[in-house]
Symmetry: C2
Subunit: 384 residues, 2 copies
């Protein structure tokens, strides 16, 4: 096992009705920036419930954080927060809104150009506290310090991470996910699945507990994910998916083990250049990355196949093929197609993707740093 | 899944050499109460390492916290802390020392008789911060707010729990466990195993992820526990046991599911009246409790048997018997005997144990509150 430090400060408020706990956790004389996305919360009633829960606090709304949150949009929210002397940000939505809230929290009291936080890792002081009401289980953003921000004008997707902007609380009410469109349910399950894979499917370091935890999340997602599509208002199914997605990226399962994240890095370019949903990019890249890295990942791929997908096959090469197929089948069972051609992206687009990786300095990806531009091209070509 | 709130504020510093991180985490002008047990840390070098790590801080030592920490002893430490205006407690040892540190932390600024904290749940203010350097993985005390204190003069063992005395950091260096006597290794593994069982072996509430996590810890302990006895200086084995014991009782796996704790409650009386090691009492009580509660716990006992011990048996009654036997065999493989008679406790002692349960108001134990004094007697009689 590798050395590690671990702490997770987010208070999870899990279950029906937990939104009512929020008011007890706001600062004195709360001036809350109520941040949300495209407005679906107005249709499904969550908007009204949040306003009820915030009764008594001074609330300023900011609507319109988009999927893959845009730097320009977030800077407008920073302006609103500054003008109104906001002292708390309540993010109501999925990973994009919560990621956006973290960036706003860091940017409000930042004196230079806040883009530097993302591009140069610039230090920031006195971030605002953030709370989260999760409506889309997927990214784990509700209980980690990670934030990914998109900038269309430069086709860049950049991340920063800081414990200081991690939500102080996160409301996880499974009922808030009942009205999600199937596409978002699919994306969330696949996103969480690949988060686990990035922290698990590397090489063994004799860390059996981390392996069991990772496998436990994968097994739960494989079992519950399709049910979430089939029976959207099954409370327990929604609860199990929600808790799995949070545990997938709250920092725990990746402690003491190597991590990969190559699938995410290559996938980010597909979002930046072609606008694909984040989870879709993962479903496209992962199977091909597994194929290309099959020797280096051999032991863990075999373990994944056996323990998560119940594959019993003595021939290692066949077992690896079956496992990659099982992963692909799982994505397809979640209604997400796994080839570039399924999204009308031609082979000729691969050049641009590889160039973007190079431009962003992403030339040594994966747990061994051996996914260079040649291998990245190989992976993308396999996924064509 | 049941509703829950969860937060764990302890920063885990895991691995070789992590003790050096401690000095960065002490308060300014630190006046540290360095609390430890019987002095084994002087023989194995940890004492010197801690002093090196604390260089520059003002350190007051208190030696002599015993297993099942005594109220009288802890009150002496409270006196020392008060006289020296201590502002931080560093507990170096196993669960008893850390439990003791929490009680001292709560008692130092308590104005009445601190026994009231244990016996009446009296509120306390301004507890001292506690840090932990773990030398015996077992109780999980290093990252939870629980404290159990013994009082010989009244044959009472009482607990309190508060996030405010939970360690702010915990150093988990597997090398610090190399020199543990085999008896303590055995106790630690069995203790952690039963902690998981108390949060798992109840009835299903459709919480598959919690089940998988619990099973993952049990599987790891079953696999690594005997190795820790056989090859004491295998770093990874020690690391896996240590991380399992922490995860067993840091609050995570019991969230959203029913909990039992009947084995602990009955076991506590065996320690209070007969001085048995805590883990020994659990190994004695659990198999008999499983037998007596076999109908109510049927589904989870079958799941435990199949998933953790690999039992494949269609006849449910036989499968339950085999699973209870497997648990007993595991304890015996850890060199812990599972009958009262193995410790020269006669059947005639059962009356006194049951009376003590009654005196402490422990007359409705278990996840259904149905382990009354009649059932407790049945369990103890089966364990004779």
């Amino acid at each position: 096992m590798l050395n590690f430090t671990f702490k997770n400060q987010t208070e999870i408020l899990f279950g029906k009705g937990q939104l009512s706990e929020v008011s007890l956790r706001l600062p004195a004389k709360a001036k809350v920036l109520f941040l949300y996305g495209g407005g679906s919360i107005k249709k499904n009633g969550i908007y009204d419930k949040v306003n009820t829960a915030l009764e008594g606090a001074d609330v300023i709304e900011f609507q319109g954080v988009e999927p893959n949150p845009e730097f320009e949009t977030l800077m407008k929210a920073v302006q609103v927060a500054r003008e109104n002397d906001v002292n708390f940000i309540l993010a109501v939505g999925g990973g994009s809104v919560i990621d956006g809230a973290k960036f706003i929290a860091a940017a409000v009291n930042f004196e230079g150009d806040p883009w530097d936080i993302l591009i140069k890792g610039a230090a920031f002081e006195n971030p605002l506290p953030v709370g989260a009401v999760l409506t889309l289980p997927a990214t784990g953003s509700e209980s980690n310090g990670n934030s990914v921000v998109n900038r269309k004008e430069t086709s860049q997707k950049r991340a920063f991470s800081s414990e200081t902007v991690q939500p102080v609380f996160a409301v996880l009410d499974p009922e808030f996910t009942y009205s999600l469109p199937p596409r978002q349910v699919s994306n969330g399950v696949v996103d969480a699945f690949v988060h686990v894979i990035e922290q698990y499917l590397t090489y063994p370091v004799n860390a059996p507990l981390q392996d069991r935890f990772a496998e436990g999340i994968l097994q739960t997602l494989v079992q519950e994910g399709p049910k979430a599509l089939a029976t959207p208002e099954d409370y327990d199914v929604r609860a199990n998916v929600m808790w799995s997605a949070t545990m997938a990226l709250n920092g725990l399962i990746g402690k003491g083990v190597p991590q990969d994240w190559g699938t995410h890095m290559i996938g980010h370019e597909l979002t930046a250049l072609h606008g694909l949903d984040h989870a879709v990019t993962l479903a496209i890249v992962l199977p091909s990355l597994m194929f290309v890295q099959r020797d280096k990942k051999q032991e863990k791929i075999l373990q994944l196949g056996e323990r998560v997908f119940g594959i019993k096959e003595d021939d290692k090469d066949k077992a690896i093929d079956l496992t990659i197929k099982a992963v692909q089948d799982f994505f397809e069972s979640m209604q997400i197609k796994t080839r570039l051609s399924d999204y009308d992206i031609e082979k000729s687009a691969i050049d641009g993707l590889v160039e973007n990786l190079e431009r962003n300095g992403l030339t040594a990806l994966g747990e061994h740093g051996d996914i260079d531009l040649v291998k990245a091209r190989e992976i993308l070509t396999l996924a064509a």
